[in-house]
């Protein structure tokens, strides 16, 4: 198969941030996830939770609540502002101060016309949603005590507000509190300690509350009496979520468990129903802060930074890719860029960049030392790139792009900022250098901008439309957008060359072969296409793949492919990697048929030399390095593998809630 010198890199201290809010849009089947660093990620449920878009974070922005109104996404946080996210340009559209102190919760009414925000000062503020903004309408309540959680009744006439030690029900017509439901700590705890209603749900006939005493309580709406009390945990119940048909309820706790309640017949075939605690899922080590229910799956996220998609097996008919548990821990885009010729590594952190330079001339050993690039402004980095020759570094935030020039003489490294970047290039979703390092390509939501780089400076050359996920060789540039359209541009003529037929799943990675000019596209559902740019059609290999179909083991992988590179020594080799493996596809070998063993390296080893060839197939997986953030080929047949051990991430997390395991 080929042997490589492997540079195993473990000094990229990537640290994901915790999940603090989540909202699922049933119409568009998109899940919005807010993290503690202020970034918002969008996942597509139809595309097996492929991370489609990321709105980069910002320092001091904290999002406490997310809310979908139609296709618009609103967020609010402790800064006291309600903001709308621009999901095309991946940045804030506007933000408006609610003038009520920190906002703990926002919720929109079922009709989608109003937003309610629960504020620190004890008021529920109603906003009318207009075309491009929101307009304050009125205040409700106004007594002391912050409003932690909100829930809107499906009729739209009542709002339940969870506060400290009580739940208030507001009538929207009058604007007054109709009911006060007192939530107390049980006798076990000290009575003096306050009981925070972290989450409240307004079902058609009951109000459900989850509080810091670890109880899930069901209240009658009309009488305001407690119907049922479930002690779920010793600690806090942080979040609640209900299915659309209101027969199933989930509660997330600080122990990291998700508890399911179901409305079940007490006796089969009779009317009487009761909320019964049924299953308990424990997939988190830390607090479960956000929960979202999407018909057949329950999605949970919390302080341990991972997004867990748990299928509800009783609602699935047969075993498929959807019926397995999915944990999303690593970003589904590359945070590492590698200068192939110069052997540089650029690590992208939210607030700074780290450049590792090769200092030792030895081929096999890559001694590196870091150069740290601090960031100006409060915005986080959204993308970055290093030129193959190692002379140029570029990064983009939502407010601007910066280009640096790196000069090295022996041991001294100097970085100078290149001034006067063209005005058009204000913000980019993707940055990319041409293989000869003469051009920088930056994409926005509408166009690809080309900047020529010379030692004197940079010059804006052209704008090509339209854009995202870029890969280029010298002559051609391919760009894919979030609608999974792929456009190919001829960079010599500076005009559009052709488009690739659209496939239903999003593009997770692509690459243009440096010699054959074939574009290899990997989609989020792990389908692989090879498109010949020169002939403007799929290659024979790609047709064969589509005809024979890929092996089910390959298709059932749960993390999308992040990167595609090629082996310069062997043009038949395509190297793909996702978070848990990297794979070399040898296009000269036959594809595995459905019945054959997919991971056959060990069995091949045991076979005699002559028989090996007969049994070998195109896919060679390597799971030696895990979890992977980047795999790239350097020019001298060596492989750079950037790992981030899970243990390092978990040790950096705060200590979880202490639990007694065995007790009498």
């Amino acid at each position: 198969m080929g042997e490589f010198t492997v540079h195993r890199v473990r000094f990229f201290h990537y640290m994901p941030s915790g999940i603090c809010a989540m909202a699922f849009n049933r119409r568009t089947e998109r899940l919005a996830v807010a993290r503690t660093d202020g970034s918002v990620e969008l996942y597509s449920r139809t595309d097996h939770f492929f991370q489609e878009k990321v709105v980069p974070g910002r320092q001091q922005r904290s999002i406490q609540a997310l809310c979908w109104v139609g296709k618009r996404l609103f967020g609010a946080g402790l800064s006291g502002e309600i903001a709308e996210f621009d999901l095309d340009n991946l940045r804030l559209k506007f933000s408006q101060d609610a003038y009520g102190g920190p906002i703990w919760s926002i919720v929109c009414n079922p009709q989608g016309t109003h937003l309610a925000a629960g504020c620190e000062d004890g008021t529920v503020k109603l906003f009318e949603i207009l075309e491009d903004q929101i307009r304050f309408e009125r205040n409700m309540g106004g007594q002391k005590g912050r409003i932690i959680s909100l829930a809107w009744h499906s009729s739209g006439t009542k709002i339940a507000a969870g506060m400290i030690d009580m739940i208030k029900v507001f009538d929207l017509d009058s604007g007054n509190a109709v009911q006060r439901l007192l939530v107390e700590r049980g006798s076990r705890m000290q009575q003096s300690q306050e009981c925070v209603v972290w989450s409240v749900l307004f079902l058609s006939d009951i109000i459900v509350s989850g509080d810091s005493a670890g109880k899930v309580k069901m209240w009658d709406v009309n009488t305001g009496t407690l119907i049922k009390n479930h002690q779920v945990t010793e600690w806090d119940v942080l979040t609640l979520s209900v299915s659309q048909d209101e027969t199933s309820l989930f509660a997330g706790t600080s122990e990291g468990t998700v508890v399911q309640f179901q409305l079940l017949d007490v006796v089969l075939g009779q009317e009487e129903k009761e909320w019964v605690r049924t299953r308990t899922f424990k997939n988190h080590t830390h607090d479960v802060i956000a929960l979202a229910e999407a018909d057949t799956v329950i999605i949970s996220g919390g302080m341990d930074t991972q997004l867990v998609v748990r299928p509800l097996l009783d609602k699935l008919d047969f075993k498929s890719r959807d019926s397995s548990l999915l944990k999303i821990l690593f970003p589904q885009r590359s945070l590492v860029s590698c200068a192939k010729k110069a052997g540089l590594l650029l690590f992208q952190y939210p607030t700074h960049l780290e450049l590792w330079l090769k200092t030792c001339p030895s081929v096999h050993l890559m001694c590196l030392f870091p150069v740290r690039l601090g960031l100006q402004g409060e915005d986080h980095v959204c993308c970055s790139a290093v030129a193959p020759c190692g002379e140029w570094i570029a990064y983009s935030t939502t407010s601007g792009i910066r280009l640096y020039r790196l000069q090295r003489d022996n041991k001294n490294v100097s970085i100078t900022k290149v001034p006067k970047l063209p005005k058009v290039l204000r913000h980019a979703h993707q940055l990319c250098f041409s293989p000869d390092s003469s051009h920088l390509y930056g994409t926005t939501s509408s166009a690809v901008h080309v900047v020529a780089l010379t030692s004197a400076g940079c010059k804006f050359e052209h704008s090509l439309k339209p854009n995202s996920c870029v890969d280029s060789d010298g002559k051609f540039l391919a760009s894919a957008n979030s609608n999974s359209e792929i456009h190919i541009y001829n960079m010599h003529k500076l005009k559009a060359h052709c488009t690739v037929p659209v496939y239903r799943s999003g593009v997770s990675a692509m690459g243009i072969h440096p010699e054959t000019n074939n574009l290899v596209i990997v989609h989020a559902d792990h389908q692989i296409f090879e498109f010949s740019i020169e002939q403007m059609q799929y290659t024979d290999w790609s047709r064969r793949v589509q005809k024979e179909g890929l092996h089910h083991v390959w298709l059932e992988r749960d993390t999308p492919v992040i990167n595609v590179t090629f082996n310069p020594q062997n043009p038949n080799h395509v190297i793909l990697h996702d978070s848990y493996m990297f794979c070399i596809i040898d296009q000269s070998l036959p594809l595995p048929d459905r019945k054959s063993q997919f991971h056959n390296q060990l069995t091949l080893k045991s076979l005699p030399e002559a028989e090996r060839l007969k049994h070998s197939h195109a896919f060679k997986e390597c799971k030696l390095y895990q979890p992977l953030l980047c795999v790239d080929m350097l020019e001298n047949q060596s492989l750079v593998v950037v790992e981030r051990p899970l243990l390092d991430i978990t040790t950096n997390l705060p200590a979880p809630v202490r639990q007694k395991k065995f007790a009498t």
Binding site: Q262, G269, R277, T278, R279, T280, K315
Partner: protein, 792 residues
């Protein structure tokens, strides 16, 4: 007298009482449990045995209350019958010969039995007839291939569905659905099941210690379950209380867990002393019973307080210590709970007490290497006890401890005197006490090639140690050619010690420790060694692994006789010359009793039982019999008890006794005869054990009156007169009684006829002397035979 005596094997007790879940009567006064062939009725408050329901000819597999009449109980047995009893009086009401070669085990509410015939669940419809014996023909198969475990079937509310688990880990809700434990690799196999009495909820226990509450099972796939997890290993049994408010569960941890049904809270009752195998709840929910693996039933009140403990004979995996008789209490001593010796009363079939030998906390966990008591021996008076405990499967980590105990009069128990750590370098193979009281000496032989003699220290030694009294120390270490000693035995007077080294028997003088002679009869290693007693004390008997039984004459040091016989056990009666030999042939054990001096066996019993007799012992009688029948002469001074293991169908052990039926008094002879007849008629095993133990010298009539069922007695007006008379002090001497009874014996059959006439006679105002005598006879007779007559 002579003709009537006959030697029989009687199953006398020690059977497991934890085979089937016990049943509590509706008033919570009685506890019924299956015990061997019997159903025993215990009092829940006093723990005492009230009476037995006997009639089954094979092991009882399940009992349940009759839902139509709560004072009746159904019992099923491996003999293929289901019987209905009135348990307050102990009367058999109905026999259903339903299942030829069947294995009835379970019951439901209305249809009385669901026997898993070849592991098949069957519903049987019982025809309504008045006859006592009913043949059930209408059988409908419900489910094939179910688990043999009775806890794997549960009955739901209103018999709308019942649940059972079959051998392939599938969970059937009959007529509805089938669930499979799906996850591969996970240890979530179903082990037991119970149904909520009111709601549609099924609780199942799993191998990984979880309990799942299944609900919503009418929908095809949207069933759902709640998991309760406390047990760390297999959940053995589950039971809902009748109101459905709590769920009880038990497992190997010997902890009873009480789960609140609709809340996520639980209460536990730890340290019950043995892993829980069954739980049952009384009808009002006020009493729980838990059956434990150490043959114990614990009665627990609903506030989780233990109110009574019914302890049967504890039998672990093996009886390492042989059966030993405590000379002081005449109790049988053997392994009990782990690390304990149990003292078991053979007469009362009850455990007397436990002696903690290991004196360490026992941890209930599989795979732990526990200390086990492997040897125990008493001295002649029962004032000294020596025990050996060991731990460790491999030789390298074996820990052996030898302990000597003294009987403390004030504490009425044994008190530890000396502990010897590692008395030998390898496992101890045998241990025996010096037979006479003059010297206190113990000889141990071990696989490390030597035997050691241990002596109780002299009084002078004690002064150095303080006030603790004399302690034991090693006196002599003997070896013979680096061979491994297997057995040791003292002669009856203690003048000789025989130690067998593989093929060689060495005879030593215990005074001087001089090797007197060696005896050898190859091939084959010595398995058992035994000196003759009394008149045969010059003989030494040994059995070898090559199926030889040899007898040496110690006076001539030559082989007296030898015979080729597959001996499994050789036992000597301590009070007579007799020896008992058990042989195993074609899966059946035969018994021979002989005297070493005579070549002809005194007694032979073929096919004593199926399978091997594991242990046996002669137990001295409290009062010797004077019986002159040749074949039962050997039983005059002691009884032979043996312990068997019937591995064919049950892991249950039966405890059998070989006993003679000859009674002490002539009256008893008569009684015995009737009992025999009863046996022929109903196939009942005899319980003279019980009868004899209670036999009073005085008013027999009173006892008979009280013991006979009311409905078979003559009218009260008729009996009253006799009853009052019987309370008066008789003027005739006891000699006369004797004469009378002898007369009775001679004309036994004739008397029976007369007695029937006597019952038919109306109350006579003036009783003639002859009539009076006749009446006297009547009141002394056992009327239970009448019940049999009337029943048949």
């Amino acid at each position: 007298m002579v003709e009537s005596s006959e030697v029989r094997v009687v199953r006398c007790g020690g059977s497991r009482i934890n085979v089937a879940a016990p049943v509590i009567s509706v008033d919570s006064r009685f506890l019924l449990c299956a015990s061997g062939d019997l159903v025993k009725v215990f009092s829940t408050s006093t723990e005492e045995w009230v009476h037995v329901l006997q009639g089954h000819t094979n092991v009882v597999t399940g009992i349940t209350l009759n839902p139509a009449n709560q004072l009746q109980v159904y019992s099923s047995s491996a003999d293929g019958t289901v019987r209905l009893w009135d348990f307050t009086d102990g009367i058999l009401i109905k026999v259903q010969n339903a299942f030829q070669n069947a294995y009835p085990g379970l019951f439901t509410h209305h249809c009385p039995h669901f026997p898993p015939e070849c592991l098949q669940l069957v519903a049987a419809h019982v025809p309504k007839t008045l006859e006592q014996e009913v043949e059930v023909r209408e059988l409908s198969s419900v489910l094939p291939n179910i688990s043999p475990n009775p806890r794997a079937v549960g009955f739901g509310r209103e018999v709308r569905g019942w649940i059972c688990l079959d051998t392939s880990c599938t969970f059937h809700l009959l007529f509805k659905l089938i669930y499979k434990s799906t996850k591969k690799g996970a240890k979530n196999t179903f082990t037991c099941v119970s149904c909520h009495p009111k709601d549609d909820c099924v609780a199942t226990g799993h191998e990984d210690g979880k309990i799942r509450l299944w609900r919503n099972f009418n929908q095809k796939k949207e069933y759902t379950y709640t998991t309760l997890h406390w047990h760390h290993s297999v959940v053995n049994t589950l039971c809902f209380t009748p109101e459905g408010t709590t769920l009880l569960s038990g497992g190997i941890e010997s902890v009873l867990v009480q789960w609140q049904y609709d809340r996520n809270s639980k209460y536990i009752l730890p340290r019950l002393g043995g892993s829980i195998t069954h739980i049952s709840v009384s009808a009002d929910g006020s009493l729980f019973t838990t059956s434990h693996s150490d043959n114990k039933i614990t009665v627990i009140q609903s506030n989780l307080k233990v109110s009574a403990v019914i302890q049967g004979l504890v039998k672990g995996e093996a009886v390492h210590t042989d059966l030993v008789i405590d000379p002081r209490s005449k109790a049988l001593v053997l392994n009990g709970k782990p690390g304990h010796l149990q003292f078991y009363s053979l007469q009362r079939d009850k455990q007397l007490y436990n002696l903690d030998i290991v004196q360490q906390e026992y941890i209930y966990q599989e795979g732990l290497d526990q200390y086990e008591v492997v040897k125990a021996a008493f001295d002649a008076h029962g004032s000294c006890l020596a025990t050996v405990e060991e731990r460790g499967k491999k030789l390298s980590d074996t820990e052996i401890t030898l302990k000597f105990w003294d009987y403390n009069e004030t504490a009425q128990s044994f008190v530890l005197n000396t502990t010897v750590m590692t008395p030998h370098d390898n496992r101890i193979t045998s241990m025996c006490f010096f037979p006479t009281a003059e010297t206190t000496m113990v000889v141990t032989t071990a696989r490390d090639g030597c035997f050691k003699a241990w002596l109780l220290g002299q009084e002078s030694d004690t002064e150095k140690q303080g006030t603790d009294g004399p302690s034991w120390s090693c006196d002599f270490v003997g070896r013979y050619h680096d061979l491994q000693p297997t057995n040791c035995c003292f002669s009856a007077d203690g003048s000789l010690l025989a130690v067998s080294f593989q093929e060689v028997i060495t005879i030593w003088n215990p005074e001087t420790w001089e090797l007197l002679t060696t005896l050898c009869q190859p091939p084959g290693n010595i398995k058992d060694l035994c000196f003759g007693r009394l008149s045969c004390s010059r003989y030494l008997l040994a059995t070898t692994t090559k199926n030889m039984l040899c007898c040496w004459n110690l006076l001539t040091c030559s082989l007296e006789w030898s015979t080729s016989i597959a001996v499994t056990l050789l036992k000597a009666d301590p009070l007579s010359e007799n020896m008992a030999v058990f042989t195993l042939q074609k899966e059946q054990t035969d018994l021979f009793v002989f005297k070493p001096c005579e070549p002809r066996p005194l007694f032979t019993q073929n096919a004593l039982c199926v399978g091997e007799v594991q242990r046996a012992i002669f137990v001295p009688r409290e009062e010797p019999l004077d019986n002159c029948d040749e074949s039962s002469l050997w039983l005059n001074r002691s009884q032979l008890y043996c312990l068997t293991e019937n591995m064919v169908r049950f892991t249950a052990r039966k405890h059998a006794v070989i006993d003679d039926s000859v009674a002490v008094t002539p009256f008893y002879l008569l009684l015995g005869k009737h009992r025999q007849r009863e046996q022929e008629m109903c196939g009942l095993p005899v319980t003279e054990q019980q009868g004899r133990a209670q036999l009073p010298q005085g008013s027999v009539a009173v006892r008979e009156l009280l013991h006979t069922a009311a409905h078979v007695l003559p009218p009260a007006s008729f009996l009253c007169n006799m009853f009052v008379k019987s309370l008066l002090i008789s003027q005739t001497g006891s000699e006369k009684e004797e004469e009378e009874s002898e007369e009775e014996m001679d004309s036994c059959d004739a008397q029976q006829d007369r007695r029937v006439q006597g019952l038919g006679v109306e109350t006579v105002p003036l009783i003639s002397k002859a009539q009076e005598r006749e009446l006297k006879k009547v009141r002394r007779t056992d009327y239970s035979w009448l019940s049999c007559l009337s029943d048949s």
